[in-house]
């Protein structure tokens, strides 16, 4: 099944739910979505080409995707975060220097946490992670964590200026490198979960090979 087909099927969901969702200011589904869908397919083709070009083995890579101007490369499914030795996150998602995760448990009992929402923002020198407990926007308890981050460096890879940084999560797990570069008027944000800086350059070289 293609995502366009799923989108098409979603267009026929119960009208009651549709009306409920937009009690006011309804708007029709845009006809131009079909053209956008075609453009999205082209983007996927580009992403696929990049994926092939990178040539990573499955053990090195669990996910490479392009979402907007984002390419994400992870070396494992989980990017755990710890607080006082407790596992906070088992599925940490990065979104342009902001990342969120949720897990199960109760605030007062870290063994039984549930509906944990965390967000973090890269402040330039370090990352502060705020954790919220409760349903979505309900904040029951908050804790801050500080992850040190090494200084960002700017270099040139195959004629393209690249900004590279590494988040040191102070864990025994692999470091998280990220690199930002502009290529053909598109800004790419590449994340590589590896403690090997040379591997980051290897990925960049393959991404930016002319």
């Amino acid at each position: 099944m293609k995502k366009e087909e799923l989108y098409d099927v979603l267009g026929d969901v119960n009208e009651i739910y549709v009306n409920e969702a937009h009690a006011t200011a309804k708007k029709a589904r845009s006809l131009w979505i079909k053209w956008i869908a075609i453009a999205a397919c082209l983007c996927l083709v580009v992403a696929g080409a990049i994926r092939i070009g990178i040539g990573l083995t499955p053990s090195q890579m669990t996910d490479i995707f392009r979402e907007g101007n984002l390419i994400e490369i992870t070396g494992q499914d989980e990017l755990p975060a710890l607080y006082n030795g407790k596992l906070l996150a088992f599925n940490l998602n990065f979104e342009t220097y902001e990342f969120y995760y949720d897990t199960d448990g109760a605030a007062e009992n870290t063994d039984d946490w549930y509906s944990l929402l965390a967000s973090a923002r890269n402040t330039g020198g370090y990352v502060i992670l705020h954790c919220m407990f409760g349903e979505t926007s309900v904040e029951d308890w908050k804790v801050s964590m500080v992850f040190t981050k090494e200084a960002t460096t700017t270099t040139t890879v195959n004629g393209v200026e690249v900004q590279i940084a590494r988040n040191d999560l102070s864990l025994q797990y692999e470091y998280w490198h990220y690199a930002i570069f502009e290529y053909d008027d598109v800004v790419y944000d590449v994340r590589v979960q590896s403690d090997d800086a040379e591997y980051v350059y290897e990925v960049l070289n393959q991404l930016l090979q002319r």
Binding site: M1, L10, Y17, V18, I36, A39, S119
Partner: protein
């Protein structure tokens, strides 16, 4: 908008042969059943995003949530939808 479609790509495999084997009406009914299992607010947010193609910012403003909370909720709902359909025999 591309991002809406890209998000839905996480629910499907990209194969164009599998979907053809399923009755469209059954799939719609399954999705409606899935939506009926959701709390009203979460269902509304899902519909806002994938029926009205509202931006995450618009949804966040409408429901007084942060961008991240909406993004995370949608991610969770997509995973739930995928699991829900897979559990019912849909090969996505």
């Amino acid at each position: 908008m591309p991002t809406v479609l890209d998000e839905l790509a996480g629910c499907v495999s990209g194969s164009d042969t599998v979907g053809q084997t399923y009755e469209r009406k059954e799939l719609i009914a399954a999705i409606n059943n899935f939506l009926s299992t959701l709390p009203a607010e979460k269902r509304n947010i899902f519909v806002c995003r994938y029926w009205y193609t509202d931006s995450i910012d618009e949804i966040a403003a409408r429901y007084d949530m942060t961008y991240g909370a909406v993004s995370m909720l949608l991610n969770r709902l997509r995973t739930k939808l995928r699991n829900y359909l897979v559990e019912r025999g849909y090969e996505l």
